[in-house]
């Protein structure tokens, strides 16, 4: 111990509070505070009188309705669905809700932050499709609408079994939408909500298919930006996995950034650079994939998963440059770990 850590230096306390100390001085002061109760209370009263500490502790306590306040932005899903259904063009078919593009809408599949997914029938090709309609709130922003169309077109160019195909895109002023195959099944999120954790073999199978889909899209320069279980479709019956909503988080970004300062994406799966609001590239998706896999499997299986995808978890921080190369490695790792 040097003398600095042993003796009290009252003037240092004020400098510390004003951020005027260097690293060494701060360390010494901290060591001193470990032992010296006098300086602790001196420091606290210099930081603020007792009433100020009380006020802070009272005022910053969470309020029972904080959550409502956080969600009071934007319309609730049911209102949103109603809104979109009312905007549909009229139809002659009494069994249908309305029309959009050339499609007869028969029902609503789901709703999310980005918009509403409708089930519809394509008369000319006699097939069922899913139509994702951008929420009117977002559609009112010209920038978001253009981005939506541009990203969707780019995503439509990716042909890969693990990326949800896009039949067509419409930049309609009122109801911008994109048309996708109708897939019977559920999202990975729903699967996890219903059945809990995945078995390790399943987690690896799904993880490696997502990685394959991402690799194909990344090869075309696309970034998904919001890889999370809710954006992974699992087809019913067959074991196929498809990534949905490529690049669409960006359209949301365009519309919301200027309004609320919110960064689009999902915190649990966001890479550090995305959370910081910096420019992101393909590697950010891999970070999210790593986070997704980690969440899919219980702790006991994590070690096995980490073996296969350790690179996904650790590289984003350590060595971003080498990270892109780990996709094939990740897939091989999954393959070797799959039980026979």
């Amino acid at each position: 111990m040097n003398s600095l850590t042993d003796t009290c230096h009252r003037s240092l306390l004020e400098s510390f509070l004003q951020d005027d100390l260097n690293v060494v001085e701060e360390r010494d002061l901290t060591l001193h505070l470990n032992e010296c109760e006098k300086c602790r209370s001196e420091l606290e009263s210099r930081a603020g009188e007792p009433a100020a500490w009380d006020e802070i502790s009272q005022l910053l306590k969470p309020q029972p309705f904080d959550d409502d306040e956080a969600t009071w932005h934007g319309p609730q899903p049911s209102a949103q669905i109603q809104n979109i259904i009312e905007s549909l063009a009229p139809t002659d078919d009494p069994n249908m809700l309305g029309r959009i593009g050339g499609y007869e809408v028969s029902g609503v599949v789901g709703a999310g932050a980005m918009g509403v997914v409708l089930k519809a029938h394509d008369k000319s090709l006699d097939r069922t499709v899913a139509i994702k309609v951008l929420s009117p709130m977002l559609a009112s922003s010209g920038a978001a609408r253009k981005r939506f169309a541009r990203e969707a077109k780019a995503a439509a160019a990716v042909l890969h079994p693990n990326v949800m195909a896009i039949h067509s895109v419409s930049n309609d002023e009122l109801l911008p939408h994109l048309v996708m195959p109708y897939v019977r099944g559920s999202s990975l999120q729903k699967r996890m909500d219903d059945n809990g954790f995945l078995a390790v073999g399943e987690a690896l199978r799904i993880g490696s298919q997502i990685a394959a889909g991402l690799a194909a899209a990344h090869a075309q320069g696309l970034v998904h930006r919001d890889i999370k279980p809710a954006n992974i479709m699992l087809e019913e019956g067959v074991e196929r996995v498809a990534i949905t909503d490529f690049g669409l988080a960006r359209a949301v970004d365009d519309a919301t950034m200027t309004r609320t300062g919110v960064i689009a994406g999902t915190p649990q799966y966001m890479s550090p650079e995305q959370a910081r609001g910096e420019l992101i590239d393909q590697q950010s998706d891999l970070f999210s994939l790593g986070a997704l896999c980690t969440q899919c499997a219980p702790d006991a299986l994590l070690s096995a998963l980490k073996l296969a995808m350790g690179s996904c978890i650790e590289f984003p921080i350590r060595n971003r440059g080498r990270f892109v190369k780990s996709i094939p490695r990740f897939r091989n790792g999954c393959a070797t770990l799959l039980p026979v």
Binding site: L17, L31, E44, G48, S57, L59, L60, W72
Partner: protein, 198 residues
């Protein structure tokens, strides 16, 4: 805090002077959550509280013309705060259930002399202070690493003991005292700054 962008813009039309427009903008940002929380504390549901918030803001906005023609001696910001306080107290203390929102109702909020209601007045002041601190916390938190902020939250806000916090965070006791004191100092500084700007 820009949940009603359309209304906000139309409200802004009421403020002709550019500098006052900025003051109004800031005022809305701070007072919207303040009014909302007050309404929730009076047991209004989410939607009703939003309604009332909107109503009070519209009422204040509609009376801005009065300030521009009569009251220019008072500073706009100060005037806004005073008018808002009256409108809030009127809205909270005399609001019958389920009444329609119309121009006449809104003007009632403004015209009637505010009932003297020290209790509500006190609550308005508390919620105003809370909003200042919440905003300050946002600013300060962005500058502090997450682990340090957690320690501050645990020991100062949630009342966890320093020893337990030291155990859980792996930080030394000295480090915890140092970190939370500095955060308190920064919070107070940020609040002072916000007060001056408001």
């Amino acid at each position: 805090m820009t949940q009603f962008p359309e209304t906000r813009n139309s409200l802004l039309m009421q403020v002709k002077d550019q500098r006052n427009a900025e003051a109004w903008e800031q005022f809305v940002q701070i007072y919207r959550p303040v009014i909302y929380r007050l309404a929730r504390q009076k047991d209004l549901q989410d939607a009703d509280a939003q309604d009332l918030t909107q109503q009070v803001l519209i009422a204040v906005a509609s009376s801005i013309g009065k300030w521009e023609s009569e009251n220019q001696s008072t500073r706009f910001r100060h005037w806004l705060r005073k008018v808002a306080k009256n409108a809030i107290i009127n809205a909270l203390t005399r609001r019958p259930n389920d009444r329609a929102i119309g121009d006449s109702e809104i003007m009632t909020l403004m015209n009637e002399q505010s009932a003297s209601d020290p209790e509500t007045e006190r609550l308005v002041e508390i919620e105003y202070r809370r909003e200042l601190y919440l905003r300050a916390a946002e600013l300060v938190q962005a500058d502090v690493d997450p682990a340090t902020w957690r320690v501050f939250e645990a020991t100062v806000i949630d009342g966890q003991s320093i020893d337990v916090a030291a155990d859980e965070s792996g930080k030394s006791i000295g480090a915890i005292y140092a970190a939370r004191s500095r955060i308190v100092r920064r919070l107070r500084k940020a609040v002072h700054k916000l007060e001056d700007a408001e």
